[in-house]
């Protein structure tokens, strides 16, 4: 092996600017997360694919029969067709949130693996980007399977419905970034219980996944419209049902994109606060 001065350092002759950009930090962080994932992908496939599919089958078919008997929904579609995109967006939220809570706290605080990574040329911003690349991978694979099941249930308007995939992926990323910042902000995992109880679960139940928000009491409607999940569901549903309101879709995309960008900024800041001390 060539340690120290025995061999001319391979990068020393390169211009400084080139040397600086040599290692692709975020890509390596992504690889690291994939290596971890390889060890437990089976469990995660069961929880993130099978669960919503069972949910879709049970709720959509059983409840759907009752709902459909009682009268059609606004969009004039079957309840299953209405519910499926809601669950797709909600699954994106759940997958992203799960992957951005305990794993982040573990790497930051429990195992301190982030600390180890930052002793290499990898930068704090690479940690955030690499993490989001991994979330992107998880979302695309999980949601693609979900979308295929939706197609099989006949709950997808083609070809516009295919765009429900990027819509739901954007929804997931818009959660992943700020939740990662949150995970780096709280001191222990009690914060995650609060996030679930006061954030994720109420959103799951009342942000349009299961029923249109206009059926909520009037005072609660603005709250529901302000949640990120509602924007995700609205966008995803508009595409999968094939009834897209372009103006509303632009608002939805804008909201989610801003949340993602602000989230990335917050995550970088918060990671640095915890790690660069």
């Amino acid at each position: 092996m060539a340690f120290g001065t025995q061999e001319a350092p391979s990068d020393a002759d390169l211009p400084w600017s080139v040397r600086r950009s040599l290692p692709r930090g975020s890509q390596a962080v992504f690889e690291g997360k994939m290596l971890n994932y390889k060890g437990n992908w089976k469990g995660s496939v069961v929880s993130s694919v099978l669960e919503p599919v069972l949910f879709l089958a049970a709720m959509g078919i059983s409840l759907g029969t009752l709902v459909d008997q009682g009268g059609r929904l606004d969009q004039g579609v079957d309840y299953l067709v209405f519910l499926a995109p809601g669950l797709l967006a909600a699954t994106a939220m759940q997958t992203a949130t799960f992957e951005s809570t305990y794993p982040i706290m573990g790497a930051l605080k429990w195992h301190k693996t982030f600390e180890g990574i930052l002793s290499t040329p990898v930068k704090v911003r690479d940690l955030v980007t690499g993490h989001l690349l991994f979330i992107l991978f998880r979302l695309v694979t999980t949601l693609a399977v979900f979308l295929a099941v939706m197609g099989a249930f006949g709950a997808l308007e083609m070809p516009l419905g295919l765009l429900a995939l990027p819509a739901a992926v954007l929804t997931g990323l818009a959660f992943a970034a700020p939740v990662s910042a949150f995970a780096a902000w709280v001191q222990n995992d009690a914060g995650f219980a609060a996030l679930l109880r006061f954030g994720i679960v109420p959103m799951f139940l009342f942000s349009g996944t299961f029923f249109p928000v206009d059926q909520l009491p009037a005072v609660l409607q603005p709250v529901a419209y302000a949640t990120p999940l509602w924007h995700g569901v609205s966008l995803t549903r508009g595409l999968s049902v094939g009834q897209l309101d372009p103006l509303l879709a632009m608002v939805n995309v804008g909201y989610l994109a801003v949340l993602l960008l602000v989230g990335v900024w917050l995550a970088r800041r918060q990671f640095a606060k915890r790690l660069v001390i």
């Binding site: 120290g4 990068d11 290692p23 290596l35 971890n36 301190k112 990574i117």
Partner: protein, 346 residues
């Protein structure tokens, strides 16, 4: 020196100098500062380096120079600021004050490029517990941007180097503490670093593993790798370090080669006397004239003198009967005790 004091006056009493005088002083000062940087062979160079956590000062204005090829050690009691210093040298923790150059570069602006050429063994292992031994090396190499095939070859060599080849495909989590430590050391070498930072590398290792590691560190040093380490073991410091500093309360209390430090801060020999429990202290005054210095420890008295046997005879002649009498050569432990008032291993 005169230039610097001029510039200090310049700052405190600007009106007492003319504009031209001030400009001249300023330029001279800048030239002095430029000259006052690391030489080409100084891989670590710090002047007035400080680290504060809130109001608390962990490192209080230290000066360090580590030359290429040297093995440099930090000794010091718990909380002295050794790890805080190592983290600043590792370009992961920003200095609060002072100037620091690693491999000739400023960690504040060139952190990634510096870290690319460092190997770091942190005080607490931060391996990926969910990966195998080999995977830990493979992914760590990727963080340095090393091609996979090259990492794989190096990983095999390094596993052999730290004698973990037979555990290569086991998960890290169930490994013993010493094995994890060895893996951390292997990991720190994956990028073939020029400068290796080891924060208490052998804490938790059994004696055999420690000696094996010393041997390996020595071989790295022979290959030209510069070593900076902290330790609580004086035999480790004596074995490995060409030069060391004793740190206490964030400051450097002494600096030099192990033998130099012993020569400066201790006598040639030490007479160790053990009296019955609780009696040690009461005998100290009566024996003070027999030694240059007496150290009272809870379980024994240390009499510092160049003639240990002579002092021992004198003790007996005074009719004292200690439970045990031992004459030995001074060690770094004695230097440490003198400088910090504490034993090295508590």
């Amino acid at each position: 020196m005169s230039v610097r004091s001029a510039s200090v006056e310049n700052m405190t009493e600007p009106s007492s100098l003319t504009v031209d005088e001030r400009r001249a002083a300023g330029e001279a000062d800048e030239a002095a500062l430029l000259a006052d940087g690391p030489r080409a062979d100084e891989l670590v160079w710090a002047r007035g380096l400080s680290k504060k956590f809130g109001e608390f000062t962990a490192v209080d204005g230290i000066d360090i120079s580590v030359r290429r090829g040297e093995a440099f050690g930090f000794l010091g009691p718990n909380g002295a600021g050794k790890s805080s210093t190592m983290r600043m040298i590792g370009a992961v923790s920003p200095a609060t004050d002072g100037r620091l150059r690693i491999l000739g570069r400023d960690p504040g602006t060139d952190g990634p490029a510096i870290r690319a050429r460092l190997g770091v063994v942190p005080q607490t292992d931060n391996l990926d517990q969910e990966l195998t031994v080999r995977e830990n090396l493979l992914i760590y190499g990727r963080y340095f941007g090393i091609p996979r095939a090259q990492i794989r070859a190096r990983a095999d060599e390094l596993l052999d180097f730290v004698q973990l080849t037979d555990r290569a495909d086991d998960l890290v989590e169930p490994l013993s503490g010493g094995m994890k430590r060895r893996l951390t050391i292997a990991r720190s070498l994956i990028n073939e670093p020029e400068l290796l930072l080891l924060d208490e590398p052998t804490t938790g290792l059994d004696p055999q593993a420690r000696h094996a590691l010393w041997d390996r560190l020595f071989r790295l040093k022979q290959r030209g790798v510069t070593l900076v380490l902290t330790t609580h073991y004086m035999d480790e410091a004596e074995q490995l370090c060409d030069r060391l500093v004793v740190m206490d309360k964030g400051r450097i209390a002494a600096e030099g080669a192990p033998a130099e430090l012993i020569g400066t801060y201790s006598t040639r020999e030490v007479l160790e006397l053990r009296f019955a429990t609780g009696e040690n202290e009461s005998h100290a005054d009566g024996l003070a004239d027999l030694a240059e210095r007496i150290e009272v420890l809870p379980d024994r008295l240390l009499l510092y003198t160049d003639d240990g046997d002579g002092a021992a005879t004198a003790v007996v002649e005074r009719g004292l009967r200690p439970a045990s009498v031992l004459v030995r050569r001074s060690s770094l432990e004695d230097v440490f005790l003198r400088l910090t008032g504490r034993s090295l291993v508590e």
